[in-house]
Symmetry: C2
Subunit: 392 residues, 2 copies
């Protein structure tokens, strides 16, 4: 049967993280491997009430086929929030509701990428984006990112030598590294891209989860006609709703809607109605404030434990928000080897490998701090520190 498959699907390996998470099903293991928001903060009762109320008041209206663009009320809420939070003027017509922002990636790949097209991706970069785009078989051009943003020299080289169609970025508290682009770096990237035909995809699932520092400028301010925004309610309300969105100029939106119709006709409209009702009846910002207060404490606990238990030549990022930080072991050490050693000491993480397009073994790893309390974090980091010293 093997030769029955498409070339695209035989190229894409099974999710590395999925395989790793199987190892960490053992509950005696402290896991920093996951990528989940903390379930303690899911608004169960308010969503239950919102759900009851929409059935009560809107009846069969909420159960019929709906339009491909998404529920107008929810799109209006998103538009209003962009204005309030970022001073961005986004028309509801430029907003498409998607089945999580992951679907936004798939629709963008489907709409823009021919096989062999050039695409710029961060290194390390978001695994889900690599997987979604890989389905359309582009030529990936990884550009390094570190504290402060994108490597401008490497970016300039790709822009000069290729004609990249897409540049994929997670500018705030990036997955996997936790780094954010500075305002200066964003402006420099925008200037370099300005006169090219490259479209910037700014994926921002974590932007609201800022526990220190100040909000940075959006590419939508800097390059409004060449920027697509992706957003998500998965980290601020709940992932199971599978509700994200995509912002694109009208010329692109027409084609994206065709891709959306072909993909699943429209996003779950019951979930859209429930979420919209929840957002109308509750204060999202107050809810987010409770999440980031706790995530901030957990990140601080992780940094403190790293400083206490890791050898001094291990480097790490110190994010201002989000759910992850990134550790670089001394050059030459393998995080895959560390993973094996750490599992024996009952602590897990994700080695850097799947976040590189070429899936190379590396000295880097991702730690999640959103799902463990501060005491557990201290204990897990101590175990990990012991594992590192053992491997030296």
């Amino acid at each position: 049967m093997e030769n029955a498959f498409s070339d695209r699907i035989t190229d894409v390996p099974k999710s590395f993280i999925r395989e790793i998470l199987k190892v960490t099903n053992d509950t005696s293991i402290i896991s920093f491997a996951g990528g989940l928001p903390n379930r303690l903060f899911f608004p169960v009762k308010p969503l239950q009430k919102a759900s009851f109320d929409v059935f009560e008041e809107e009846g069969s209206d909420i159960l019929q086929y709906a339009n491909s663009e998404g529920y107008l009320g929810l799109r209006q809420y998103i538009s209003d929030r962009y204005r309030k939070q970022e001073g961005l003027d986004i028309s509801v017509n430029d907003i498409l509701i998607t089945t999580g922002s992951q679907q936004g990636l798939d629709l963008l790949g489907k709409t823009f990428l021919n096989e062999g097209d050039d695409l710029i991706i961060e290194e390390p970069g978001y695994l889900g984006a690599i997987q979604a785009f890989a389905m359309y078989r582009p030529r990936f051009h990884p550009v390094p990112v570190s504290e402060g943003g994108m490597d401008l020299v490497a970016l300039g080289k790709v822009l000069r030598e290729r004609r990249p169609k897409l540049l994929y970025t997670v500018t705030n508290f990036q997955n996997p590294s936790g780094i954010s682009y500075s305002d200066d770096n964003r402006r420099a990237v925008a200037e370099m891209v300005r006169n090219s035909s490259c479209l910037i995809i700014q994926d921002d699932p974590y932007g609201d989860l800022r526990f220190s520092g100040t909000r940075k400028v959006s590419f939508k301010h800097l390059l409004p006609d060449n920027t697509v925004l992706l957003g998500s309610f998965s980290k601020t309300v709940a992932p199971a709703l599978r509700l994200g969105w995509l912002v694109a100029p009208p010329a692109l939106m027409d084609k994206l809607i065709i891709a959306k119709q072909a993909a699943d006709l429209h996003t779950n409209s019951l979930a859209q109605r429930i979420l919209y009702r929840y957002l109308c009846d509750n204060d999202l910002d107050a809810h987010i404030a409770t999440i980031i207060h706790q995530y901030g404490l957990q990140k601080a606990a992780m940094i403190a434990a790293i400083q206490q238990y890791f050898p001094a030549d291990v480097q790490y990022t110190n994010p201002e928000g989000g759910m992850f930080l990134w550790v670089s072991l001394p050059a030459g050490m393998s995080s895959m080897a560390l993973f094996e050693a750490a599992i024996k000491k009952k602590v897990a993480f994700v080695p850097g490998t799947p976040f590189y397009v070429d899936r190379k073994d590396s000295n880097t790893l991702r730690l999640n701090f959103s799902c463990s309390d501060e005491a557990t974090i201290a204990q897990g980091i101590k175990r990990l520190g012991d594992s590192i010293r053992e491997l030296f």
Copy 2:
């Protein structure tokens, strides 16, 4: 910006039906153009209760990220139902929950089709399938279907001259034509496909909506290793849940799950939990019985009105279930011209055009009978009959 798009997206025209439905927003128009289940039968109160109960009893469990395969309880329900309804033994491991069965089509295209691969589709065929597969740029080979099933001579010719990867069929109460394949036709098709490398996709959104006649054999009985099944709760419970499924042998399922992860990580798990709870606490078959009783009456009313008001040389199918029937005007007449005339008389339908891969104008049209009561159907068919006579 035009040259920025992928070839696949510039090939696919905007949904014809979407454009037609805009014309029919006028509420004085009697519309047989839609493809919607009748909202009168959506189980609003039972779903409200199911929703309340899952929040009450399972709390944050139902709001976290979930697995790509779908909720095990729901997959078990589907497996049990296949055994009970069709005598099919389907492992839960062979069932993938999808965002409506439309997504199943997209995942199959993504997993199997390289550009230029040969694909057999019914003529007339389901528009959503044409759109989904067109994204992967196969070579379409339309094979005519009529009362009784697929044209075996035309099928044999494609199987001899090409190496089709996929054969897409809606064997029960097909959209758009309402026809069903006879048992003999299914057996003959299976025998012809048996020694090829072609995979049969049996899409069955309407199979449960049978108001007369008897259930026919599944391709899964006839060619178990070469058949993929698609199913949906959209026509039996509610479309807004966006819950469908795909049944595939293990060798295929591994790849389909990779495609699913890249597409949207997993299907809305809140909706899966609500639906599962609804299915546990209610009698789906009793619910379906009320739907098909009414749809049967409405179809009978449409047939009676056609016999009374249409010229005798207009042909029509007489479905045993589903939501549509298919009308063939005398040769040479244009259903696009009829559409213009009919709108003036305040009645709408979908001309056959979008159901042909080459989008040719034709003498055929689709009539929906699920959404109008019997009196409205009689009045609308009279108007349509007048329009036909006028055009003669």
